[in-house]
Symmetry: C2
Subunit: 427 residues, 2 copies
């Protein structure tokens, strides 16, 4: 096998189980790819090749513990992993002590026989100032954020899987820009212990992968549930399509991606029905911003109040509104959130999933502009499972994704619809 | 002033503002009290007198930043504070590196001019194995848990305020056993960033104090909102009283405490109406256990899976059910939680607050038995604000408390009712 780093995660694990590949060879192949590409792409905040190889060897000496035994993964650098500092894209933590423990999600992955390859670049506290990462499809462009390194590393075949987090659009948008699958499970499914807290009502751990089945398997492990094995054999897909309150803020390229996805889905036999979002969603975007800023000014109290000189002006400006916000205004926003959550189940009762553009357009032509969460923030707020599906290209010949959204708790059905759509879009 | 450590927090801060006391003198007085009592009570997991005195001096050189400027507080040892390790009552972390940062709540308190006195003893991960702390009212007895040291230190005049956390009953129960005020604000009000995550749907940060006004002021600071100043001048208190599903699991002493509180409240002019809890609450206790165990086995994945030899057998046995629980069973429990939350508002529409016993009885006569959360777990699950009110004594002449519960978001009204009741019970 010339380039094991090109393999998907489940595929590589099957070869490891069959004795045709080892975790060590796979990890070395990923490290070689990183070596060749890191100066350009800059997806990694920290690497420790010796540690990764030692972990891989230990896994090679065991019987497989799971369907992803021996598979390396990247960890967004706001998430703790033993032996690495958690630098959070901030000068406050750039020289922090290496962690003595793993985040819960990382421990669940290790316990399933998986191997930490390293820490991936995040924007400052997963909120603002961009890191060094470039879009692997065009180095002059942004990979998106805040899970910049996770998306870029997976897209560039440097690692088959990575963990990200989404508070606004930080899993699905970079996945769209980088042309990979992003999966944000239902709110609360993947434990957040050991993840830097920004906005407790919104922060959601998710995954990036190069295919939907890999994302589903990885997320199952991180959720601590039996691995979900998806099948293409299912009922005829029934999609709803909605122009969300964000529609006018999306580019023509995003509008076209939405229309192309509908057209291809219909041509392949799916039903796609355009629906209107109920009134609960009218103020959803603004409410998401209110919740995020109110909570972030409190969750980041140490950094903002004890280390203000080391917080970027951009971040301070971004969340300053939260300092002055009345709690009644925050409570109102939380009520809007609850209303949107409640409205999603009946809205999707007759459909398998909702389909919308995954990002405002193709990747911005400025690596320090990680883009707007406008296409994603409503769905993060509902807590709904969302899968970003790649396969389409925009007018600048860069990837552009659509997202498939299900009601909370219906991740498996949502992933099945995403798997079906992924097959259709990549044809 | 002979013993500033005897002062309440707001009272001491007024004296500091007036120039009649300094933060340093107050901190030294608390440290002297600890010196005299620590061998017996054992409330502290870690102390750093030089650091506390240096912080106090720095505050003495400034104009007051808040109504609690210069006041020392204890921090439960599952919560990060700069310069202290977070040992979590576990051998896994007993030699951990001192933290370089504060939890958000600790930073908010410091930013208001408050001073960290030290870390207070917690049970293992705020769940099981008891620490070294004894009940200051009778050293042969338990202080309760898991916020054992916070309750004991406040009760014993070693510090006027302390931070605790409650997942089942870990703020209100030890407050009852130790005869102090406990306040668990509405779920999500005090940020959890920097607090060890055990159960994301239940973990709630709260406070201990020796009077209700102090608790209200401290919680306001930790919530990042303007300080709530309570007044006794209010409408006639209207309490509901309910025999919860836990009633039969409470001791005759707890039943009597409930009846005594009702009698005294009525005698002082309150209306108290006995109501039945709606059917949503029937399975609430069992649902709380299911949510806690399902989430704790995942949140503690690093400790349980990577360091199993250093986790107590008691803790493993306690949460083992979470490992095998089907997600559908967890989802059902979360639905019960949502049902109870929704039912509390209409239930209390005609009342100011609900009144019930705060603990199963007086403190257990075994320091390693921190007691059962059976009186508290339902209310933690609803996310409702709860104030533990001391003032009554049980048949063994140990403190026994009642709790005052309001609907979510109505902390101020709940505290006002608690303040009124506190005045009545301590007469």
């Amino acid at each position: 096998m010339d380039n094991p780093s090109q393999l998907g995660a489940l595929e590589a694990a099957r070869l490891i189980k069959a004795g045709e590949l080892t975790s060590e060879v796979l990890v070395r192949s990923c490290l070689a790819r990183i070596e060749a590409r890191d100066n350009d792409v800059g997806a990694w905040a920290a690497l420790d090749p010796d540690r990764a190889i030692a972990e891989a060897r230990a896994r090679d000496s065991e019987s497989p513990r799971s369907l992803l035994h021996g598979i390396p993964f990247g960890v967004k650098d706001i998430i703790d992993a033993e032996g690495y500092r958690t630098a959070m894209g901030s000068p406050i933590y750039e020289n922090a002590t290496p962690m003595l423990n793993d985040a819960a999600s990382v421990a669940l992955a290790k316990d399933a026989g998986m191997v930490v390859l390293g820490k991936t670049v995040t924007t400052e506290f997963a909120l603002r100032t961009a890191g060094k990462t470039r879009n692997p499809h065009r180095l002059s462009h942004s990979p998106g954020g805040s899970s910049s390194g996770s998306a870029a590393a997976v897209a560039d075949f440097q690692v088959p899987l990575a963990i990200g987090t989404q508070t606004g659009g930080s899993v699905i948008r970079p996945s769209s820009y980088c042309g990979v699958v992003g999966f944000k499970p239902t709110f609360g499914r993947i434990p957040r212990a050991g993840v830097k807290s920004v906005s407790e009502s919104l922060d959601t751990v998710g995954v990036m992968a190069r295919n939907v089945s890999d994302a589903a398997a990885f997320a199952s492990i991180l959720e601590g549930v039996p691995i979900l094995e998806l099948s293409n054999a299912q009922v005829r897909p029934r999609f709803a399509f909605a122009k969300t309150p964000a529609w006018d803020a999306l580019s023509p390229a995003a509008h076209k991606a939405g229309r192309d996805a509908i057209e291809k889905a219909r041509a392949a036999g799916a039903s796609v029905v355009e629906i209107d979002l109920p009134p609960a969603f009218r103020d959803a975007l603004e409410a998401q911003t209110r919740i995020q800023t109110y909570e972030a000014t409190r969750s980041l109290a140490f950094e903002l109040r004890m280390r203000p000189d080391q917080v970027s002006k951009g971040l301070k400006d971004y969340i300053v509104a939260g300092l002055e916000m009345q709690r009644s205004s925050y409570d109102e926003a939380r009520n809007i959130q609850a209303g949107c959550r409640a409205a999603l189940w009946p809205l999707l009762a007759d459909f398998g999933a909702l389909l919308t553009p995954a990002a405002p357009g193709e990747a911005p032509g400025n690596p320090s502009d990680t883009g707007s969460p406008v296409a994603n923030a409503i769905w993060t707020m509902t807590g709904a499972p969302v899968v970003g599906v790649p396969g389409l290209m925009g007018p600048e010949n860069l990837p552009i994704g659509v997202q498939v959204i299900g009601p909370s708790g219906r991740g498996a059905a949502t992933l099945s619809h995403a798997l079906w759509l992924s097959g259709v879009l990549s044809k």
